[in-house]
């Protein structure tokens, strides 16, 4: 297990839990990062506020890789613009491309995501596109230079779990990049299941932000993700099509 690294764009990580930082107090970030064992944390880019002196960066522990997203972008052009600004903020060249045209379901626009991925990969970004799980789109993202593919499990912030399970499995089986399940994972058991399926990592935000005890839930997710990863590496036991199979010897019964 010690050699089991998550590799994204040539960078190695031990943790397979990517932590969101939205919708909760900056003061909880340090505890969340620690209890999640996270090495990557997502951020958003917004107009700066002159009244707030505090920066979220003051709360993120040293050595954590920042993964700015392009939230707010409605097309490839806007996503590229936000990514460039994020890089100018001086915290590395990772970017999670996230492009949405509608504000009701917040579904990613796969076609614009492919375009933005290609432009940003050519500019040297480590591009991690958030997408609706579709094999053809995932292949286009590979060709566009993506460093990972991030399919949604269910609508953002819904905590509804693996609604797209079959299609994520297809991506895991067919795409030769880390498949990181992003959006919709609400419970540690769902994160564990995705990892058992062979997902490379889990990204979660709302599941923690809306939990009763955020750092404790971060810890629960950490354990679930590690358990799922181990189960995947171990190879799951087979499932019988029908009938039963005894686990105990079928000889030596205490009877004549």
């Amino acid at each position: 297990m010690n050699n089991d690294k998550l590799i994204i764009g040539g960078h190695e990580f031990n943790s397979r839990f990517i932590l969101g930082s939205g919708k909760y107090s900056m003061k909880l970030i340090e505890a969340a990062v620690k209890d999640a064992g996270a090495e990557i944390i997502t951020l958003a880019v917004r107009r700066a506020n002159t009244k707030e002196q505090e920066s979220i960066l003051d709360y993120i522990p040293e050595g954590i890789t920042l993964l700015p997203n392009t939230s707010g972008a409605r097309n490839a052009e806007e996503a590229v613009r936000i990514a460039r600004l994020a890089r100018e903020l001086g915290c590395g060249n990772f970017v999670k491309v996230e492009i949405m045209r509608d504000s009701k379901y917040l579904l990613p626009d796969n076609q614009e995501t492919i375009k933005a991925t290609e432009i940003l990969a050519n500019e040297g970004f480590v591009v991690m596109p958030y997408m609706y799980p579709d094999l053809n789109v995932a292949r286009d993202l590979v060709n566009a230079g993506a460093a990972s593919v991030m399919p949604l499990a269910s609508p953002i912030g819904s905590n509804k779990g693996l609604a797209t399970k079959e299609f994520i499995q297809i991506l895991i089986d067919e795409i030769d990049l880390p498949i990181i399940v992003d959006a919709g994972i609400g419970r540690p058991s769902q994160a564990c299941e995705a990892m058992e399926m062979g997902a490379a990592a889990i990204m979660a935000n709302t599941a923690l932000a809306t939990a009763g005890d955020l750092p404790m839930m971060a810890s629960a997710f950490k354990n679930a993700i590690e358990a799922g990863r181990k189960a995947y590496l171990a190879g799951l036991g087979r499932v019988l099509t029908r009938g039963a199979s005894a686990s105990d010897p079928l000889t030596g019964f205490l009877r004549d």
Binding site: G20, S21, G22, K23, Y24, M26, I29, T42, L43, A44, V45, R46, R47, A48, N49, T50, K51, Q53, S55, I56, L57, L66, P68, N69, S71, R81, R84, L85, A86, E88, L89, C91, I156, A183, M203, N205, T206
Partner: protein, 64 residues
């Protein structure tokens, strides 16, 4: 007038560095865009704000 993050300010003629020094923005924690193009930190001292410019000043916030 110069538009900064959607608000009009009477700062035409100042450099970006001069303008930023009159605000509470933390220069280490922002990025600046002028009319859609990034202004790199090394250019703050030489970039003059002109009437009609549109400036965006951004920073990181929590997000997923």
């Amino acid at each position: 007038m110069v538009k900064v993050n959607g608000e009009e300010f009477d700062v035409a003629g100042k450099t970006i560095a001069e303008y930023l020094s009159t605000t509470n923005y933390d220069p280490k924690r922002i990025a600046v865009e002028r009319n859609g193009d990034i202004v790199f930190k090394a250019q703050y001292n030489e970039t003059l704000l002109q009437d009609g410019d549109s400036i965006e000043v951004v920073s990181f916030v929590g997000g997923g």
